[in-house]
Each structure stands twice: as C-alpha cells, then as structure tokens.
C-alpha cells in the first residue's frame, strides 16, 4: 500500500474551511471560539460550557481537540457503530486502499484477507496486498495518524475520496483491545521489509512505534526472510498461488472487538461485490473457521489510469475559493483563474473578472471577502464548457459482464456504460449491469452453511432470518418457504433441531422463489460496493421510479421490481456526492438520477427483448406441439371411419408434413415482419449482452 493513497481526508488538514461535515464543524467551531467571546455555539465535543459563568472561567475549559480524540468518541461516523460493522469497515478500508495503491502503481492486484477469532468477540484481521509497498518513514504516519494521505488534495477518481483511512480502524482496534496495529511492508525484491507495531496517540494524533525501541524492525529479504518473520512472529504470505515470490506488498494486522456474521452487510458480501466491480482483482479470503474462498479475476488488464483534473468553477464553493485565493502562487487574478480551474481560458478569466468588477491584475492574496464573493458569483454565472471527462475510468461493458457473470449465476447479462456527464461541475459516469435468472442465493446455500447461519443469527423469527440473510428474498418468499417447511409463523431460528434444519433447507430449495423475489440491487461508487442505506440512495430510488413492467418484469408501484434479477449500478466520479460522510448512499442530484435512469433503461430494454423472445420461442414450440398432439388422433379417426387402418401411418406422415409446412410458414412470417426478430438478432451480436444457454431439464413436454 503506497504512501500517497493510504489515506484520504479532504480539506481541512490545513485548517481551511469548506465541506460541512460534523467533524469539520466541530473543529471550526472550536477555532472560532479562540478569538471571540464564547457564545451559545453548539460545540459537540467541547467541555460543557455552563451558564452563568464568566468568559475567563469558561476559557479554562476550552482547549484544542485532536481529530483522533474526536473520531475516537464519534466512531459511528467512521462506520464503527457496532462490532459487526467495525469488522467490515476495517476490511473495507484496508482493501480499498490496497486496490487504489495497486492500480496507481500499475500492479494487477492480489489481496489476502485472513480472519482469525481470538476471543468470543475478538478478531484479528490481516489484509495483505501485492502492491508497491510503503517506504519506511511513511509507514507510521500512514497507519498511525488520522487525516494523513494523498488523495485529499487532488481531484481524481479513486476509492478513498473522503476516506477515513486505515488509521481509524487501527485506532478502533487499540481502543477496544489494546493491541497495536502491525504493519509489514516491502517495496522491492532486494529491499528488506519493515515491520512496525504502532498505536495512535489520540491526544496528539501521532503514531507511537512500540517495537524495535521505537524504530520498528527490518526483516531481511531473500532466504533469511522466513527466519526473521518467525523471530518477530509476523504473518506474511511470501508466495502467491502461482508460486512466485511476492516482490513487494503490505500487510496490516489489526485486532479488534468485533462479531463475524455472514449474510447481508458482511465481509463475504463486500468481497463478492468488490469482485464484481473489479474483475481484475484476485482476492483470497480465509474466514475464522479456516474456510477459504477465492474470488478469481476474470480480466488481466488494469483499468486505465484516471487523470487528475483541476476543479471546475461550477463545482466550487465559496470557502474553497477563498482558500485557493490565499494559497495560490500566481500573482494575478487572471493567471490564478486560468491555472487553478479547469476550462477557464485567459479570455474567460477576463470576462469573469469584469463581471466581478475586479481587476485582472489584482493579486489573489489581496482579494478580500467581498471580492471573493463577487468572483464566486461571476464564476457560477460564467459561460464555460463542461469539465473534461477523461478523468474518469469506468469499468466498461465487457468487464462488467465478466465480473457479474463470475459472481452472480444467471442466464442473461446486459451492461451499459453511459457517456460521462456533469453535475455541479463534477464529471461523473454511470454504468449499469444486469443479471437475470439463475438460482437465488437462498437456493444455493448448502445445508452446512445454513446450519451455521442459523446458529449465528440473532433474528427473532425465521422470517426475519430469511429476509435478512439472503439477498433478493422478500417477505412473501420467506412466508412461502416457512409454509412449505410447515413451521409456525413465529418460529425462532435459533432453536431448530437437525432434522428441522434439513426440512427448512429442503423447503428453500423446492419453493419457487422467482415470484416472491425482489431485485437484488448492487450499488457501487468508484468501484466500492455500498452495502447500507439502500432506500436512501439515489440509485435505489431511480430503480424504483423506472417502469420495469414494460420490460416484462413485475413491479409494484414505487417498489423494487421482483424476479430473479441482480442489477448493479456504478457511479464513477472524481467526487461522488454521498448523502453523509458514512459513504453509504448517493445523493439525488437530478443530473445523476437522469443518467442512472438512462443506463438502467438500456439494460432493462435488452432484458425485455430477451424475455419477449423467450416467450415467443416458447409460444412457437407450443403451437407446433398442439398440432402434433392432435395429428395422431385425427389419423386414427379417419382411418377407422374409412376402415383403412393399414393406411393410418401413411396419412399421419402426410399430415405431419403439412404441419411442418404450416409452422414453417409461421416462422417465416415472423422473420419478414421484421422488427421482433431483428431485435433478437441484435441481442446475439450485442457486445454488451451475454446469454448463457439454459440446460433444459429434459424435453418432458
């Protein structure tokens, strides 16, 4: 994991304002109180300011808050609200960072995730990558200091755009278990690996190195490596599956208080979904029971490297503009505008300055609040071309299909990548991919896995257990299963006996879940799966607002459509607008919703064609069957009436020929009528569509 991308915390490290995040508010608020008399300013984390107190007295309680302290107390902001989510967030942060690092270095990512249970609610999680590694002096800073990183200052598509960073996960681990974060990183074949045990000092937001007398230890490369690793009790995957020695890479091990459960919102789900959107990645996952699972890559090419861009004036905020004015090295406003922003030519800069009634040759640092405001207004009103869109690297239709097919079983796949578009000056691009058919998750689960899921579940009823553990299983379908297995409505999942579990398993397999199934929505932002806040997300809302019935899918009004469908929607952007800092749902900008709608309509249409054609083929077959079915009877009757049983077969064959001629004509008619058949042909040749031939369960009919 490279230094540059280890962390992503936008803005405020340099004390500049902008983004209205709670933590930012808190810090700013604190800063504000330094100069002025304290008012009734709500300061979330400050010492409680008592009323009827003097300003001097109050000043005694007013002091600096370290970001680390703030986050330590507000751990839910970072995705550590409960032990289960803490585990997921830790894995997620580490894996996201690893992927960013590998891609930036141009290495085809291979990741190992090892989960180990060390106590009833304690887990040790190790995540290793084959990335470029981190240079020695950066390691402690990256893992032991909040808001330290590279992604924050640049406008470029990456997973960690406002990320909290692995250090928060490390801090959570230290807080809950007292165990330090262990990092080993190697930057090349000849270089020694460095091993650190770090814990974050929450007061100062600084890393403290615990091993090697505060210096860490070096692990020799080459033959001696194994011995050194053992000596320091460091875990390290030295060779990959192909038997090649890992030249570089980073492994971070964090022990934390956590709960490991499968089902929705689990590590398994996260890795599965990550594999879909990142078909170039190979992930090894070993869970706490030593079950190993490999998510194999289906592509061997890295996505193109996204370009970094300058901010577009339409997407800027006043606070950010003021900060930029102060920071710039340019000496004139005109030069500042054209060099700091994308799509602002010197001509446009002059027009903007004119509109703001400031001189083009004014020094940016001298611009006061008033000038900045005028300038801001002028920037918003200026006629500018939209930002360049080459800064986004979409997954691409081909890889979407591959990724989805690799993970989600089905019969039909379609993908669509929309051309880039812009919201509020930020370029973004929407992709959608759809998988139809295949057995749902509930029918793929093995008896052992089901037994385990049941034992882990804290659901109060079986129904709740089913709906919360199996993606795409609605409550209707759950009721069907329960009825089939002849359980009571309020059956508790924890108390099932062995034969009852077997019965449940049987019921889950035998019940037709296609109808009661709701669409399984997979949401992604910059290739990272979004696993929570499904209904708050613009993606889900747009799917619900889309009319799926015209594609032959059942859908209740304003609900997700039903059927064995998985729909993945990916928004790639230099700045994905999340509804909150927890990065769980995409905000509903009209521009974004429009693009999402167009993308899902494209794949929906193709699914519609596929389904319609399947119906037609079925109808055609039935038509033929109807004739064939009655021919024998007709031949019998006619021969009997004529007392010519010996000619029965001859007549039958003749009728058969007429039947063939007739249905052939019907086929031809379809061809000539054109449109429908043409559609179907297109489907075959469409590169954005993948059709898996179905294995007919014998021609029974």
């Amino acid at each position: 994991m490279p230094a540059q991308s280890r962390k992503a915390k936008p803005e405020k490290k340099s004390g500049k304002s902008s983004k209205s995040k709670p933590e930012a508010d808190a810090v700013e608020a604190k800063a504000a109180t330094n100069g002025e008399a304290p008012t009734a300013e709500p300061v979330p984390k400050a010492a409680p300011a008592k009323r009827r107190s003097t300003a001097e007295k109050m000043a005694e309680g007013q002091r600096d808050i370290s970001v680390s302290e703030f986050f330590a107390k507000n751990r839910h902001l970072l995705g550590f609200d409960n032990p289960r989510k803490a585990l997921l967030t830790t894995v997620k942060e580490a894996v996201d960072n690893s992927l960013d690092a590998c891609e930036e270095a141009g290495i085809l990512p291979e990741i190992w995730v090892h989960l180990e249970q060390t106590g009833p609610t304690r887990f040790k999680i190790g995540i290793q990558d084959n990335g470029p590694g981190i240079v020695k002096k950066q390691i402690p800073l990256i893992f032991g200091k909040l808001l330290y990183g590279s992604k924050f200052h640049r406008l470029r598509m990456s997973r960690g755009q406002q990320g909290i960073g692995i250090s928060a996960a490390g801090m959570y681990g230290v807080l809950t278990t007292g165990k330090p974060v262990k990092i080993i990183s190697k930057i090349g074949k000849k270089h020694p690996a460095h091993y650190y045990e770090i814990q974050i000092n929450t007061k100062t937001n600084d890393p403290e190195i615990l091993n090697g007398k505060g210096e860490g230890v070096d692990i020799a490369s080459g033959a001696k490596m194994q011995a050194d690793l053992e000596k320091h009790k460091v875990e390290w995957v030295a060779v990959n599956d192909a038997g090649e020695e890992l030249e570089s890479g980073t492994r971070v091990t964090i022990e934390l208080e956590a709960i490991y459960k499968r089902g929705r919102g689990s590590i398994d789900e996260y890795l599965e979904q990550t594999a879909i959107a990142n078909p170039h990645v190979r992930i090894h996952f070993k869970d706490s029971e030593n079950n190993e699972r490999l998510f194999e890559r289906s592509a061997t090419t890295l996505p193109p490297e996204p370009k970094e861009i300058k901010p577009h004036p339409y997407g800027i905020e006043l606070g950010r503009l003021i900060a930029m004015l102060k920071d710039t090295r340019e000496t004139t406003l005109s030069a500042f505008l054209s060099s700091s922003f994308s799509r602002v030519s010197s001509g446009a800069a002059k027009k903007i300055c004119d509109a703001a009634k400031v001189s083009t040759r004014m020094s940016p640092s001298k611009a006061g609040r008033h000038e900045a405001e005028e300038l801001f207004k002028a920037l918003q009103e200026a006629k500018l071309p939209p930002p360049a869109t080459d800064c986004i690297s979409p997954i691409g239709e081909e890889l979407l299909l591959k990724g989805l097919h690799q993970v989600v079983p089905g019969e039909f796949y379609a993908a669509a990548t929309r051309p880039p578009a812009v919201y509020r000056g930020n370029p973004f691009q929407i992709e959608a991919a759809l998988a139809f058919g295949g057995s749902p998750a509930a029918q793929r689960v093995s008896l052992d896995a089901l037994t385990e899921l049941l034992s882990q579940s804290d659901a109060r009823t079986l129904r709740q257990f089913l709906t919360s553990n199996f993606a795409g299983l609605g409550s209707d379908a759950a009721d069907k299963i329960i009825a089939e297995a002849e359980f009571g409505a309020r059956q508790s999942p924890g108390k099932l006996k062995k034969d009852e579990i077997a019965k449940l398993h049987e019921a889950m397999r035998s019940v037709n879940l296609d109808d009661g199934q709701t669409m399984n929505v997979l949401r992604y932002a910059n290739r990272v799966p979004l696993q929570f806040q499904l209904s708050a997300c613009a993606i889900t809302q747009t799917i619900m607002q889309t009319n799926w019935r015209s594609y032959g899918i059942t859908q209740s009004r304003n609900a997700l459509p039903s059927g064995p469908i998985s729909l993945m929607v990916h928004i790639a952007s230099v700045w994905v607008p999340f509804t909150s800092e927890s990065k769980e749902a995409v905000a509903s900008y009209p521009e974004i919703q429009k693009e999402i709608r167009l993308a899902i309509q494209t794949v929906g249409r193709k699914l519609g064609m596929f389904l319609r054609r399947r119906l037609e083929v079925k109808a055609e077959g039935e038509r033929r069957n109807v004739f064939l079915r009655y021919l024998g009877e007709v031949a019998d009757a006619v021969s009997d009436i004529r007392d010519a049983e010996d000619q029965r077969d001859e007549l039958y064959n003749q009728l058969l020929e007429v039947a063939k001629k007739k249905t052939a004509q019907a086929d031809a008619k379809y061809d000539n009528r054109g449109k429908k058949i043409e559609d179907a042909d297109d489907l075959e040749n469409d590169k954005s569509v993948l059709i898996i031939p179905r294995e007919e369960p014998a021609a029974a009919k």
């Binding site: 109807v626 079915r629 007709v634 009757a637 000619q647 007549l651 009728l655 007429v658």
Partner: protein, 384 residues
C-alpha cells in the same frame, strides 16, 4: 393415389355391414366423405378443414309463409392447422368415428355414453380428448349440421326429459301404451320420436296442453285436468328437448290437435314458446320437423298481476339478465311484427316483475287447473 381411398371405402361398404338400412347407408356415406376429404387434403399437402354451417342468430332466417325459423347458408371453416380450432377439429373427427361405430354395431347410445366412449388421454400427453360433456355436445350438434344428418340418424339420443298423460295410445317397441293409464308419473317421452319407432295407435283428445315443468304438470295430472277437458298434458322440463318437440309436432301434424302452452311469464318462458312455435336458433335445421306454428301461448300473462290481484310476495323482480334477454327476445324477427307480443313484453318490463306459473297457487292450489286455464280456453284468450 386419389382413387385408392374411394375404392377402399366402396369395398368396405359392401363387405362389412351387410344389412344396413338405407338411412344408415346414407349417414355412413357422409361420414366417409368427411374422412376421405382429410386424406385428399393431406395428399395434396393442404390444410384439411370442415365446413360447418353456422348455428347463430346471424345465420337464421324467419320464413314468414312457413312461419318458422330456417337455417341460412353461412358456414364456418374448422381447420386442423389453426391453433384455436385444432382441438375441436380433432374432436369433430372423433365424434364421426364414434357414430360410424354405432352404425356398424347398430346400437343407439346417449350423448353421455358417446362422450365416455370417445374420451381418452391423447397419446404422449396429459390432455384428455374431451374435458367434459359440455365440450362434446356442441361438437355433436356441429356434426349433425355438417353431415346433414339428424341425431337419431347418428344413433344418438338424449336423456328422456318430459312426460305425457291423457287419452292416447302409442306403440313403442311393439307395446301399446295407454297414456291415460300411466298413474301419477305419466309416460316418459322418448328422445327419439320418429314414426318408425313410435306410432300413435288411438287418440280421442281434443287438444294438447303443454306446461313448462314437471311440478306444474303434476298439478294438472293430479287434478285430472286431462280427463275433465279431454286433452293431453305434456311438459318438457323447461326448454323442451327434441323428443318432446317432435312429439308436439306429430300430435299437431298427424292428429291435428291444437297445442296450447302454459309457461312462466319471463323472457325464458317466452323463448320456450318461441322454440315450440317456430324452432330454435341453435337447431334451426330441425324446424321443419319440430316447429308447431299454430301453438298458442295462454299464459302466464303480464296482465295477470292486475287481473288476479296477485300478492306482492309471489312477484319476482326482474334482474339485469332478464331485462337484457327480454329485449333480445322482443327483437327477434318473429316477435318484432306482433303487436300483442310487443305489448306483453313491454308490460312485463314496465311492471319490473316476472311470474312463475306457481304464482297462481297463492290464490288456491288448484286455481290454475280449475279457473285459470279453463277461462283462457273458453275465452280463446291467448297470444299467438
């Protein structure tokens, strides 16, 4: 090739059933023609089809001089290679096959037996040739019109429905049956009423009173109405079956007995009268053998509500179906030009009620036999 089947058919006709009646020979001939048509079509790689005369209002004509309904010439093609018709085509040929069997065996069988005879699972499927008798009966009627053969010529009969009592002696299967000595149940009118099977030996009655259903008929029989008025009483359990209609026709035609009908005062009663009088739309081809154009409708009349001050409790409100049907009936060409009938229907619609014959029971149990019918007959108060 085209000759072969014909030759074959000829051979067999001579070979197999030697003692066929001329009537059966004719029927068998038309059955074979249907089969040969299929073979010829198949040989020419054409779509075999049956031309079935259309049995609907659109294909009947009211013959004013004969005063009966006649069938038009419109035909429907029933094709084997048409998704919607394939099954009924197959069923039509099955019926033909069944009838051929009956002729060979010289046996008669009921509609229901034929249905069971032909019902089997189609080879290689789970589908039955006929899902129910209601699927089979219309096909038989189709074949009757297609082959231009009567049901009895196909050796088929329906369940007996309807009875007769009164001073008449009929010969049935060589037995003389005196219908005046049939006790409380009367003589059950057979489904096949052809002169070659049933002959009228002796009759002293003056007229025929046909009532709608058995319950009313029982009243007349118990009150010995036929004895007092020297008549025959018949009923047909609602819409009279062909046997009863044929009986009425023959009584009217051969014995010149006038026929009077006592039916419910509702659209269905009107239509029963219409069927007896000028034939049915569905079986228009049978009209010449069954219609009794001189039949009279003596009641129940719409005006009886006022005439006999019937109590409210015996009135039945017309429902939407009744009203719809009443308007259909009054617009039939044979009702359209009859002002008294138009008035009758209008009165019923205006009253908004219908009356069953039993409504008269509210006056007294035997009111209908002792007062109502004698009064109508005496005053010649009827609708024509």
């Amino acid at each position: 090739m085209a000759k072969k089947p014909k030759k074959n058919a000829g051979e067999k006709k001579a070979a197999k059933p030697t003692d066929l009646s001329p009537r059966d020979k004719k029927t068998l001939g038309s059955l074979v023609t249907v089969a040969v048509d299929v073979v010829e079509a198949a040989q020419k790689k054409r779509d075999p089809q049956l031309a079935i005369p259309l049995r609907a209002l659109s294909n009947v004509k009211f013959n004013k001089t004969k005063r009966m309904i006649e069938m038009g010439s419109a035909k429907n093609a029933r094709q084997l290679f048409n998704l919607n018709q394939a099954k009924s085509y197959m069923q039509s040929l099955l019926v033909a096959k069944g009838c051929k069997q009956l002729i060979y065996d010289n046996k008669n069988c009921s509609l229901r037996s034929l249905y069971y005879m032909l019902k089997h699972t189609i080879a290689g499927t789970k589908e039955e040739t006929f899902a129910g008798q209601e699927e089979c009966d219309p096909i038989i009627e189709d074949m009757e019109v297609t082959l231009n053969a009567l049901r009895e010529e196909l050796h088929l009969f329906a369940e007996n429905r309807g009875n007769i009592a009164g001073p008449i002696v009929v010969t049935d299967k060589g037995f003389d049956i005196d219908c005046a000595r049939m006790g409380s149940a009367g003589y059950s009118i057979p489904s096949i009423m052809e002169p070659d099977r049933i002959q009228f030996k002796k009759c002293t009655a003056d007229f025929v009173l046909h009532v709608e259903k058995g319950t009313v008929w029982n009243r007349f029989n118990e009150d010995e109405f036929w004895k007092k008025h020297n008549c025959l009483i018949t009923h047909g359990m609602g819409q009279p079956p062909r046997g009863v209609r044929r009986m009425l026709y023959r009584l009217n035609n051969e014995l010149k007995l006038p026929v009077y009908c006592l039916l419910d005062n509702d659209p269905w009663g009107y239509y029963i009268y219409s069927v007896i009088k000028q034939g049915s739309i569905n079986l228009a081809f049978e009209s010449t053998r069954m219609a009794v154009p001189d039949a009279k409708f003596i009641g129940i009349r719409s005006m009886d509500v006022d005439r006999y001050q019937l109590s409210d409790s015996v009135k039945i409100k017309l429902n939407d179906t009744d009203i719809k049907r009443a308007n259909q009936v009054r617009n039939y060409p044979w009702f359209k030009d009859k002002k008294p009938w138009q008035k009758e229907v209008e009165t019923m619609l205006a009253n908004g009620i219908k009356l069953e014959v039993e409504a008269l029971t509210s006056k007294s149990l035997s009111f209908v036999t002792e007062t109502y019918v004698p009064a109508r007959l005496k005053d010649k108060d009827w609708l024509d």
